[in-house]
Structure formats: C-alpha cells, structure tokens
Symmetry: C3
Subunit: 263 residues, 3 copies
C-alpha cells in the first residue's frame, strides 16, 4: 500500500507552487501518492481550511499524512507542527488549522518541527510549504520515528467554532461557512437537533422543518438540511442561498422546537 | 496495471468534497489511481458533463471506471446506475450523464445500484458521490462481478443532442456548448460535413469555409474548425467567440454548401 | 520508481481536454504518474508558463518528463520539440516555453518531434497536446532512445526575461509576472542584489529595504522580498500589491543602493 499524502492550501494552482511541493515529496519518497484536496481556500482563511480538514479526515485511512498550508504568519516565529491524531498525521503551521480535528480525536500527540535533517537546507522564509512541510511529510510517509520531528508541544494554537446557545424554545447559532453553491453551514451540529424542529429563522425568513434532501422542495425554495459535514445547512434548491437570502458568514440562525415530543 | 478511476463533478474543489470521495475510494482499494477530469462543470449542467464524458471515454483504456456526479436530484427517487459500455464502467445518477457515450457504444449493460454491501453504511441523503458512487466504483476496480451491483435497467434516462436539420442548401444546427476560451461547439458533427462548405452563418455573421487550425486566420478573425470533440466549432483566433459574436448556447448556426462537388 | 510526467497548460480543467491527455498517457504507460502543475496559465501567455516551469524544474528528480502546452500557433508550421536538459525532459511546442530552463541548464540536447510512430495516428490539427505531446511523453517515460524522437534542433525559439540595467546608484528592472495574490515578480534576481538596498521605487512609492518575510511589516504595508522563484518581489502584507499600488506587468522598478558597504 502506497503512503497517502494530501494537500490543502490557499496557493491556487496557477503559479506552480503546489507542483514544487509535489516535486519535493516525490524526490524524497517516490512511492508517495499525493492527493490534492483543494488549493482554493480563501486566502489566509484558517477557519475555512480547518472545516475542510475536519470534514475529510475520517474518510482517509490510518497512516495518511495531511498537509495544510494556510499560513499568514509564514517566516515569523510561529511554529511548524505535526499532530498525530487517531493514527493520521497533520503537518503545517501551528495556527489552528488542525484544531477542529484535534478536538474530536481520541489519541493525540503534537510535536514541533525542529529537526533540520528533515528540511530542505536553508528553507525559504516565505515558503515553508515546500521547504519544511513537504519534506517532513515525505519522511513521515517513509516511516521515520514520530519523536524525530522535534519536542512535544503542549499548547498548540486552538481555533474554535462559536458555541450555539440553548434557548427556552430552541437553539441560536450562526453561519460559519459558505460553499461555492452559496450553501450556508451553521455551527449547529446534527447531534444538537435531538428534538423535533418547528422552523429555522434566518435573514428575516422562517423555513419550516428540516428536510432530508434538496429535491423535497420546489426550485428556488429555501431549505434546512443536515449537510455532509454533519452540520445544519441552509440552502436554496437549485439556487444560491447566500445571494438569495442576503446572508453572510456570521449571520444569526435560530432553530425553534416544535411543541411536540422528542424528534 | 493499476485500476483507473476518473472523476467528473460540479463540486468545485474548494470544500474538500472531492477529496472525501478519494479517501473513500483509496480506503477500499489502495491500488486505485484516481484521475480528476473536472470539478468545474457548470452547477447542475448535465449536458455539459455528458459532452465532457463523451469526449474523454475513448482515450481511456478498457477497465477504466468513470464516475460522474452532476446530480440535481440527489436524495430523490432517481436511481443510481452503473453502465458497462465497451468494457468501460460509468457510475453515477441515472439522469442522462452517460447517454452520449451510451449512444455511441457497441456493447451495453446497465444495472441499478442496489446492493447495500457496496455502499457506505447509511449513505448521506445529499452526498451519494461519496457514500454510494465512490465505494461502488472502488469495488468495481477490485473486480467484483458486474451483476452484484443490482438488477438490470432497461430504460436508463437519455439526453440527446438536438438533431441538426438538412436543408436544401446546407445544414441548420445550434450551439450546444461553450468552453472557457469562449469557443462555441455546435451540434454538427464532422461526419455530416461530407460536402464542401461555402460558409457558416452565425450571429448575423458569415464565416467563409472551414479551416484546419486557428492560426490560418489573423488575430481577432472568426473561424470555423472541427474541434477535438469532433464537432464543428466557431472560434475567434486569440479571441472569445461567445463575447465577440454575442452568441450563446442555443444560438442558430447555418452551414451552406458550395455549389461545387463533394468536399 | 514510477516515471513522473507533469502537465502545465492553459486549458483549464472544465472541458476534459487535460483528462484526454491523461488517458492517452496512461493507455501507453500504465505505470506513469501524472502530476498536474497548472491548467490555469493565462490563455496564450507563454512567458507566464515559462516562469512556472523555470520555478519547478529543479524540484523534480532526474528522469521527470515535463509537458507544457501553451500553444497559440498549434496547427501552423511551428515545430514540436523535446529538450533534454540536465537529465529532465521538456515536451511541447517550440515557442519558448522551456527557454528559461534552457538558459540555466548545464547539459542540453533538443530534438524535433517527427517520428510518427510516437504519435496518435492522424493528430488533430488543434490538439497536439493530446495527440502528439502526451504520447511522445509516455514513450519517453518508458525509456525510448532520445534520438528516436527526430532530428537535432540547433535553434530552438528563445524567450528572454528583459535584462535589468545597472545604474549609477542601483538597478532598474520591471515587473514580469503577477501571481493570484497580486504579488509582483520583478526581473531582478537575488544574485544581483549583492549590495545593501536602501529602497525600492515602484508606482510612485518608495519601499525601504528588503525584508525576509511578509509578517515583518504591518497589514497593508508594501514590502520587497526575495520570492520563491529567486526574484525580487513586491507584495503587500495580507493585501494585493497589483491592485493596491496600481502596478501591472511591465511597470518600472528601481532599486537604490545604500551608501554603506556590501550587503
């Protein structure tokens, strides 16, 4: 089985930066299999990348190395880290990129990247993706000892999803992510919706109940569904919910329980 | 030889959905080689994806598994299918995505995806790409028996390219696709142009003859060529034909024969 | 070790053209490993692709085959070529795409692609990427003799980066590339900055000194750095230098030496 290495960045693909990383990886481990996740993360949007990585981690086998580089602080004193979480590896800057996965993991060990034998000599100060994270990941995929990376980190930077609030008659949350279809991800996880939902209020609109899939409603109709990340999502069937409802990241969402029993 | 699996979707790459599919595939068949075709199909544009798949199918070896997910009806009662056409496999929703390849194939067998042992447990109602089509394709690449997929389908959904009309002095067709350069694909296949072409009329313009390549005409000049899909295409050398000629999908195209003999 | 083949084009990915190339390659050499560099080169911008290829070549191992197709002259009499430079192969039209790598290479041999046994039969006049360059590259990755490609070429087309001018008190150069962040690459290589830099003048602005990384300056501040291609780059920390400074490709840049000693 070839070792898998995934790449999540905000580099775009136009300039060849990502390809330089792949060349470095394959130069060190010719058997590595490099999988592009996305290079279209909004520039410097760490939360967006953190949600993407949280969404994909469980679908990759043990041993996979996930690299993420959304790195507004590159070249400063921010650390480079490797997290070993439930037997997958996460390699990148210590700025919170992996903290949503970290929060859900059962086994955790974090190390600072400090062993210069694992870098390219003289890493470029603005391109640690190529000169530090790519070679470290290639060495991990070759099976180096995890403690060869560097010292244990006790306090990795943590990002958190804003916590929804339980109210008398429901839950108040907010929009934390927009996808390219304009679908709106809230911070309300499916597990929080343990009672029957009467309606979802957003952008002055009241949407009745939660449906299972888009085509349950007519074209152009707003709908609440549980999305593939496991969160309540507001969408418009064959439309763009963000544009159609005038709703942005941070907008308020209210879920109101039915008066009936448990869902 | 590693088994090839290609992916054609309208998911974009920004949200990591495609990577989730790759993780599922590689978790089931670590030797699979996953090839991205495109994730930039216009949202819900089944015809566009059907043309892309029609264009690429003949260039992949026998045994290739082509997944396509442009799926406005996901979660509804639309079927999931696998087509075996000329010893390649086509996996996706039964909405016409593969019907242009189907129309050209010599050997055909279609089965409905109904064997739950081939899915992820509890497929998400809005993400059959990851939870149904990806695992079914991975199992196909491992060589499961084709009839293990499910029952035979006799009436898969068919899309068709609008038929050009033979007129007294030529052919009347229409624009069925725009590419990113603004080049305009018509529904007139090269095989229909068996006589010498005097001119092509489009958007109030008359273009003389059919050329072999763009650089036969000066920069900014409209031109008719046979494109790499095998259709008559209207382009502008180093320009954007759609913008320059004000022509859209559905616009009328007339080919006029020369008075001379067979081409 | 699997043979690596990289792809750099202006095709976009939407239409499946790139996938057709991959199908051809994998049909000839099932063990080839195809790496996408970018398909988002600005349409017909040969210089942009040449910079991308110059930037990535040193990061790939010997034996790698780099295909580039930015080909405004496709179908005309322009030659197809393969360059063997420092034991990597470069395959594409003879229009200057590889000339920046060529200029830096130590060993060089260039051959015209003329052996029809290495093509698809009847190459399409507007798609040599699929019908000529892809199959030739696949055969190279299988180890065919280099002289089987065709005759030696003595005079490949050369592009050059405009030469910066040494002035009494510094260097005058220009902007040769914009990346997607709006960062501005100049034609001034790091090796030319052998003296201490007092300031960089661009777009009516004077930027003090050269920094090592973006986060040395506050958000929104213009900065000069050596970029990952090894050129002086003008950027704006967490901003878009091209938009913020109103600067385009071709704009003038002046470096002024300090009165102090060597840097």
């Amino acid at each position: 089985m070839s070792p898998l290495i995934t790449l999540t960045t905000d580099f775009g693909t136009r300039d060849g930066y990502v390809a330089q990383m792949k060349g470095v990886i394959l130069g060190i481990n010719p058997e590595a299999r490099v999988i592009d996740v996305t290079h279209d993360v909004e520039s410097f949007d760490i939360m967006e990348a953190a949600l993407v990585i949280r969404g994909l981690s469980e679908y990759f086998p043990e041993g996979t190395v996930h690299i993420a580089v959304v790195d507004p602080g590159v070249g400063s004193k921010r650390r480079g880290i490797v997290m070993r979480l439930d037997e997958r590896f996460y390699v990148g800057p210590d700025n919170g990129l992996f903290s949503l996965v970290f929060a859900r993991s059962h086994t955790r060990e974090v190390r600072e990247i400090s062993n210069p034998n694992l870098f390219l000599h003289q890493p470029h100060p603005t391109f640690h993706g190529r000169d530090v994270f790519a070679p470290v990941s290639a060495h991990l995929s070759l099976g180096i000892a995890f403690d060869a990376i560097g010292a244990v980190v006790q306090d990795p930077v943590r990002l958190s999803i804003p916590e929804p609030i339980q109210t008398e008659d429901g839950i108040e949350g907010e929009i934390i992510h927009l996808d390219r279809f304009g679908n709106l991800t809230t911070n309300i996880e499916s597990g929080m919706l343990y009672r029957s939902v009467d309606s979802v209020q957003i952008g002055g609109l009241e949407i009745k109940g939660i449906k299972r899939f888009f085509s349950e409603v007519p074209t152009g109709t707003p709908i609440g569904v549980i999305n593939s990340f496991g969160f309540l999502e507001i969408a418009v069937n064959l439309g763009n919910a963000s544009l159609d409802l005038g709703v942005q990241k941070g907008s308020l969402v209210k879920v109101k329980w039915s008066n009936s029993n448990l869902r």
